[in-house]
């Protein structure tokens, strides 16, 4: 049976998670984008700008991103990933 973690293990895991959370970055693959704009619909900090003519989005203001993951979850084309830069 799997050992349950101790309080200290949970604390260190939490700190590690928080450290990871700080370095997570949006990786956008514009060639997969079909202009559904769900990312634009759900982003709470205004990182996405729809291009109505080309029917794609542009990723802007990466510094505002809070890594909430909403755009990743709602993109039907898997065109957005949230990962550590050198992963």
């Amino acid at each position: 049976m799997a050992e349950s973690p101790s309080m200290l293990e949970m604390l260190t895991e939490h700190i590690d998670l928080a450290r990871r959370l700080r370095v997570l970055q949006i990786h956008f693959y514009p060639e997969r984008c079909k202009g559904v704009w769900q990312c634009y619909e759900v982003c709470p900090v205004g990182c996405w700008r729809p291009d109505y003519e080309k029917r794609v989005v542009a990723f802007e203001h990466g510094e505002r991103c809070i890594a909430c993951g909403a755009c990743v979850l709602q993109c039907p084309e898997g065109a957005i990933e949230l990962k550590v830069a050198d992963d």
């Binding site: 049976m1 769900q38 759900v42 709470p44 900090v45 979850l73 709602q74």
Partner: protein, 540 residues
Amino acid sequence: MATVFMKWLETQPEKYDRGIQLLTLGKLHKLQDRLVGLLVRPGMRVLEIGCGTGALTVAIAAKGAEVVGIDLDSGMLAQAENRLAASGLYKNVVLEHVDAALIAERFKPNSFDLIVSSLAFSEMSRDTQAYVLSACHSLLAPGGRLAILDEMSPHGWTARFAVAMVHIPLRFITWMLTRTTTNPLRDFQGTLERAGFRADVIERTLLGSLCLFLAEPKLDDGSQPLPVSFKGRLRYRMSLRTLLVDLWAVFFRIIPPYPKMQPGLYSIGQPTPDSPVLVTGNFELTVRRLVKAIDHHLHVWLLVVDSSGINVWCAAGGGFLTAERIIGALSTSRLDEVVNHRALILPQLCANGVDGWLIRKQTKWGVHWGPVRAADLPAYIQAGRKKTEDMRQVRFPLRDRLEMLAATMGFYAMLILIPVALLWPSSFWPLLAAMLGLSLFYAITLPWLPGIDGLAKSLPLGLIALAGMLLYSWFVHSTALADIFNRVVGLTGLSVFVGAELQGMSPRMRGEQANWGWEAIIAVLLGLAYWLIPRLMGWR
């Protein structure tokens, strides 16, 4: 810190078994054994609703039946997997992560000879109970039976009091471990009858607070439709209760249990079948603020989904408000019979955890992401579900910053100020004043303090505080150097603490826990300085 502790408790599902066994005085397992002995035969097809850690599941499989166990809690399911692997009975058992409200969609009619459930119905809302029972009706093969073992609210004042003594700790433990509260069933026999079952209590124990029901479908029944479960119209009202809840929420909202609403379908104003449908979580404050913002402006249907009493953003991020929960609520509320359109408006901030495409694919309802703030809903709907740039963005205005300050301070007052008041009463007022002053200053100046995270922002905060203190100490109220030194240490420590901890309250920063290591190092260094320097200087 508090959140980590709660999280840690949640990862201990095996304690749930021990806790429940302790608090039902071992009677639960006796009744489960009795259920298995009486009803389970080899080769039977059994569905267990809410299998939890799998104790009953394995016992049923051990009698040679084929069991499907479903549960919504993945931690519990993992524990059940472990138990199953240890028993070697995995050929007879399938464990699935399915919401009880969706069993009619998941399984074919007539596919079970026995449906069992232990302590699961008491965790469902009344709507869900009725809905799941009607689904059981169709899932049972001819001659099939339903056995439900659960907590009951007993008859009589003395029995109720005696049971409360057992029940209150049970509620607490269950909440700590699973974030669910149990509501002992009332008139469950009636609920079973209304769902088309003939039911009897075949075992009862602990003064009738734990009962085993055996039910079989009535033959002439099965097609009786459930009434649409409408919970009523919500109006914005102030009462002594709401005042007390609000007062609690101002200071202690991060301490559970959170005030919550009964999930289900409500109305705001007088909606028609064409009116919009809004979805939200069941944190009472969320619902009340929503009602306050739109009552008298809009006539809408409001589907309150069980988010374990947590606000939508946190609940979605933490896995408490999910697409599955919303799909379940759509089924149990029978919303499709109430309105003649198929458009749901979800709060934009639940998009980090609610998979919109899953809802669209599984239910044929359309998902529209509403504005961030409830106050923008009237304008959003009047514009034909169009959001302006401003409606999409989370802000952290002064009012919110002060609100968050009160909530953080409420929690730390308990943690720090109460012990200080008891052990070092002379330091209480200076400490309170310093904490309040610093955090107030921080909350007001947050947007202009340099740096992007709390720890960095605590540096200018600390420098300003120290400068103020030094000026005061030298020019206004001259003090001995030793005392000034103590204040320097205290203020530096507090500034770091306030800056770093209040960061967790901001919606626009991330990963504040990453600073805990630095906070610990700074605390140790300050402690060392506090101990060493006065000795070197000969002050003490």
